[in-house]
């Protein structure tokens, strides 16, 4: 059976075969990705999500960096970056930093586990569609990789004045960044709904 799919980027209609594409297809007119290939099974995605959750807790439980200058020492955690801004009265900026570095990754991992765990047991989570829409809203606001580069810039600027000691959370943040990237590429909306459709059949 062949069916018609419409390109979300330019509205061109394509006739496609129902066989799942082994390699991704692109729109014939605007070259936007049309169908993404089957990318791993649901167990891999759940394993990555649990791994990301553990790394997320490590990243928040331990100090990110520590500086020593003229006998005094100071450390900060991941959430400390947002709290510092809040303490200086920049609530909006603090909220943005908090959402993009703490709340965003946590919601993304949490939503995915909430959706995928029941799906693995051939059930659907309550409010699946609402949670999926929340996930789609949250996803573009996870800037953890940009934050890591920001840490690097800050440390370079500080290294002239103080001794900089990287903390446990710095390394777990780097790992979290890669895990989240892998998780995101394995749980695209197309892939998620393929799992749901297969479950409903």
């Amino acid at each position: 059976m062949s069916s018609i799919i419409v390109c979300p980027s330019c509205d061109l209609a394509h006739r496609v075969s129902m066989a799942p594409a082994s390699e991704g297809t692109r729109c014939a007119r605007c070259r936007a990705p049309l169908q993404r290939p089957e990318n791993g099974n649901i167990d891999t995605a759940i394993a990555l999500a649990i791994c990301a959750l553990v790394l997320f807790f490590l990243s928040n439980a331990y100090p990110l960096v520590e500086i020593q200058a003229s006998g005094t020492m100071r450390a900060t955690t991941l959430v400390g970056a947002a709290l510092g801004l809040y303490a200086q009265g920049h609530t909006g900026l603090a909220a943005l930093v908090f959402i993009t570095t703490v709340a965003g990754p946590f919601l993304q991992i949490g939503c995915l586990l909430y959706l995928l765990l029941p799906l693995r047991g051939a059930r659907e989570a309550p409010f699946q569609n609402t949670v999926f829409r929340l996930l789609a809203q949250v996803r573009p606001w996870t800037f953890i990789e940009v934050f890591m580069l920001g840490v690097l810039v800050a440390l370079v600027r500080l290294s002239a004045y103080a001794r900089v000691i990287p903390g446990v959370a710095l390394w777990s943040c780097v790992l979290l960044m890669f895990t989240l990237a892998a998780l995101t590429s394995r749980t695209t909306p197309g892939q998620f709904w393929r799992w749901v459709d297969r479950n409903r059949e």
Partner: protein, 204 residues
């Protein structure tokens, strides 16, 4: 070539949330049968919303670059840094790769983002049939690189959290950083409210 078959001409809608293609029903507020998201033939008020957000972002880009983003108070002196002076400090301290990185992420990327969104918006508004594939490509690139301009905001937030040794050194945030973050947020929303399909409305 006559008009290519499109979702609109065939009476099909595509769900932007779960990418399902569904038959358009003549009801007031159609929803996706699979994920129950609202369906629209085109994103509502796309051109107007994108234009408004883009104008705000372009205006805020000026204070973002002129106002200080960071104040440093030490026992020796008081300093204030704008984005550009921060880049120069990095350059003079010998770490030029980092300086280049910050310059690209903070100055070049937001400017490129505002300019390319304007180009794409203008050609969608004019219904220009030329270079559409390239403009589509440009739009997707912009969506992808936009987030990197948060770099300096994060660096400052970390310096604020770390350098709080009251008697010796003290770092505080300037309003430039807020303007800067606002540019990032506004351009991100501008890219999200823009409907790419408006670039392809007229047949070539």
């Amino acid at each position: 070539m006559s008009a290519a078959p499109t979702g609109r001409s065939l009476g099909l809608l595509v769900c932007l949330q779960c990418r399902a293609t569904v038959r358009a029903l003549h009801v007031a507020y159609p929803r996706c049968p699979r994920c129950y998201a609202h369906l629209h033939q085109r994103k509502p008020h796309s051109l107007g919303l994108t234009a408004a957000l883009l104008v705000c972002a372009a205006i805020l880009y000026i204070p973002a670059n002129l106002l200080p983003v960071m104040y440093t108070r030490t026992i020796f002196d008081d300093e204030q840094d704008t984005i550009i002076s921060g880049v120069l400090v990095l350059l003079h301290s010998g770490s030029w790769p980092i300086a280049v990185l910050v310059f690209i992420a903070s100055i070049v990327v937001p400017l490129l983002k505002i300019l390319s969104l304007s180009v794409v918006l203008f050609s969608a508004w004019r219904r220009s049939p030329r270079y559409r594939a390239q403009r589509s490509e440009l739009f997707r690139l912009v969506e992808f690189i936009g987030r990197w301009s948060m770099l300096d905001v994060y660096a400052i937030s970390l310096l604020v959290a770390l350098v709080q040794i009251r008697s010796l050194a003290f770092v505080s945030v300037g309003w430039g950083a807020l303007a800067f973050a606002a540019v990032v947020v506004l351009t991100t929303f501008a890219a999200r409210t823009f409907d790419e399909r408006l670039l392809w409305e007229t047949p070539p």
